[in-house]
């Protein structure tokens, strides 16, 4: 009797293990692979780059191989790589970079280009349009060779970034902006200093005065922004001694480092949305 009870307990335990794992596997699948919702500011200057993140189930065979964006022929992508692996999903990363500036001189006059979807070349040979969130490509001449030069920059995985600049000739700082400042709200904080003074505009800055920026993305784990990659090109607008208006771009990025729990919540939300 005891032997039979022991035997049946083991059988029930094994069946429960298979049932639980199959159920967990089925209820934790993404309806389909997709790009995370990004906020990207980038310039089409040669060398500027950004990252796209794509999430798919571990056993999905159909994956993005490359991406192209209409109107940006100079944009190239490195091969897709695995960025993070979770129980049932993988997060892939595609790095886009501009090889050369736009050949079309009229594009600069047309102003920034706003993009919401991209053409994706998939591993099964198909081509599809996919939403990536919001991407703004600045195409104007930034006035290269200006009197402000970056002297250092650092970033950490918690989203804290610092950057310092050197002013070689006197300038007048006119403003500091980004297309996503309002959208990010309290999820992006920064402190900008001219020398030891907090920045106010307009402000004349003497040669030799250091400019420093400390920025962070304090996004709580339960926020919708938690899984949102952010690539910012903060714009410090100034006028040089000759009265020429210039822009100093300050790159600021937040890469997603989601936990298994955050991915599970994301998958749940996607499954709810698909129903």
């Amino acid at each position: 009797m005891r032997k039979a009870f022991f035997g049946w307990s083991i059988v029930i335990l094994i069946i429960a293990s298979w049932a639980y794992n199959i159920h967990y596997h089925r209820t934790n699948r993404l309806p389909e692979g997709r790009f995370l919702s990004h906020l990207i500011e980038v310039s089409d200057s040669p060398g500027d780059s950004f990252m796209l993140y794509y999430i798919a189930n571990n056993d999905d065979k159909r994956l993005p191989v490359s991406v192209s964006i209409e109107g940006l022929p100079a944009l190239q992508f490195y091969p897709t790589s695995v960025y993070m692996t979770f129980s049932n999903q993988k997060l892939y990363r595609l790095i886009g970079h501009f090889d050369a500036g736009s050949d079309d001189p009229s594009s600069a006059a047309a102003g920034p280009l706003t993009i919401h979807s991209v053409d994706v070349y998939c591993s099964d040979g198909t081509l599809e349009k996919s939403d990536i969130g919001e991407m703004i490509v600045y195409r104007e001449d930034m006035g290269s060779g200006g009197p402000i030069a970056q002297s250092s920059a650092s970033g950490s995985t918690d989203g804290t970034n610092t950057a310092t600049f050197r002013v070689n000739k006197p300038v007048t700082a006119n403003g500091f902006s980004s297309a996503f400042l309002n959208e990010l709200g309290s999820a992006f904080t920064y402190e900008l200093y001219f020398g030891t003074d907090a920045a106010v505009f307009p402000r004349e800055i003497e040669a030799g005065t250091p400019i420093s920026l400390m920025a962070a993305f304090p996004v709580p784990a339960n926020s919708q922004l938690y899984l949102q990659p952010v690539t910012m090109r903060l714009r410090l607008e100034y006028t040089d001694e000759a009265g020429i208006s210039r822009v100093q771009m300050i790159p600021m990025e937040r890469h997603p480092y989601p936990t298994q729990a955050a991915i599970r919540e994301y998958v749940k939300a996607q499954r709810r949305a698909a129903k």
Binding site: S17, N21, I22, D59, T85, F86, S87, N88
Partner: protein
């Protein structure tokens, strides 16, 4: 009897060891299961459990042929904790483990009863102990296997490797017991 025991022992040996060169199995399981089937068919003492072992060996022979022909998912080795495995691959391992347990039960219990019938009680106890070890390892394998579906389970490779080593040890023990039984039966 001695020849039958030798065939069963060799058959087990072929299924236990996996020598591959460029992916080609030099000791194919198919040959091992055929030898086990021939050995069991040649057993002079017809125990009911040998029938269970023959059925299990026939199923495993069919599965091995299907795998050779590419009709079954290729055998996967659970060695990484940071990846997940497909349901079809894990089910194939699960089915194979179940059949192997049925085969081991049939052989161990069949030989244990035959040994008891000729007053080799210590040998009968050894067969039952070998079966209990195989059962314990098989149960561990069947319990942890489905966790591979959801990946990133740190204990999975450790448990499957330990259970695999346990099953291997039980297999070696069984080969020794079967050969010993062949010799003692001939001497009795």
């Amino acid at each position: 009897m001695r020849t039958a025991c030798s065939q069963i022992a060799w058959g087990f040996g072929l299924t236990l060891f996996d020598f591959r060169i460029n992916g080609f199995d030099l000791l194919p399981d198919v040959l091992g299961f055929i030898l086990i089937l021939i050995g069991l068919a040649n057993m002079p003492d017809r125990q009911r459990e040998f029938g269970i072992a023959m059925t299990a060996a026939a199923v495993m022979l069919a599965l091995s042929i299907a795998e050779l022909a590419g009709a079954m998912p290729a055998t996967v080795t659970i060695s990484q904790s940071d990846r997940s495995y497909s349901l079809s691959a894990l089910s194939a391992i699960g089915l194979s483990t179940l059949c192997m347990l049925a085969l081991l039960y049939g052989i161990c219990e069949g030989f244990a009863r035959t040994a008891a019938s000729i007053d080799r009680l210590e040998l009968a106890r050894s067969y039952r102990a070998a079966w209990q070890l195989s059962l314990a390892m098989g149960v561990i394998m069947l319990f942890v296997l489905p966790f591979g579906l959801n990946g990133s389970i740190g204990f999975l490779p450790v448990m499957t490797v330990l259970a695999g080593i346990g099953q291997f040890a039980a297999g070696i023990w069984l080969i020794v017991l079967v050969r010993r039984f062949g010799r003692e039966y001939a001497a009795a």
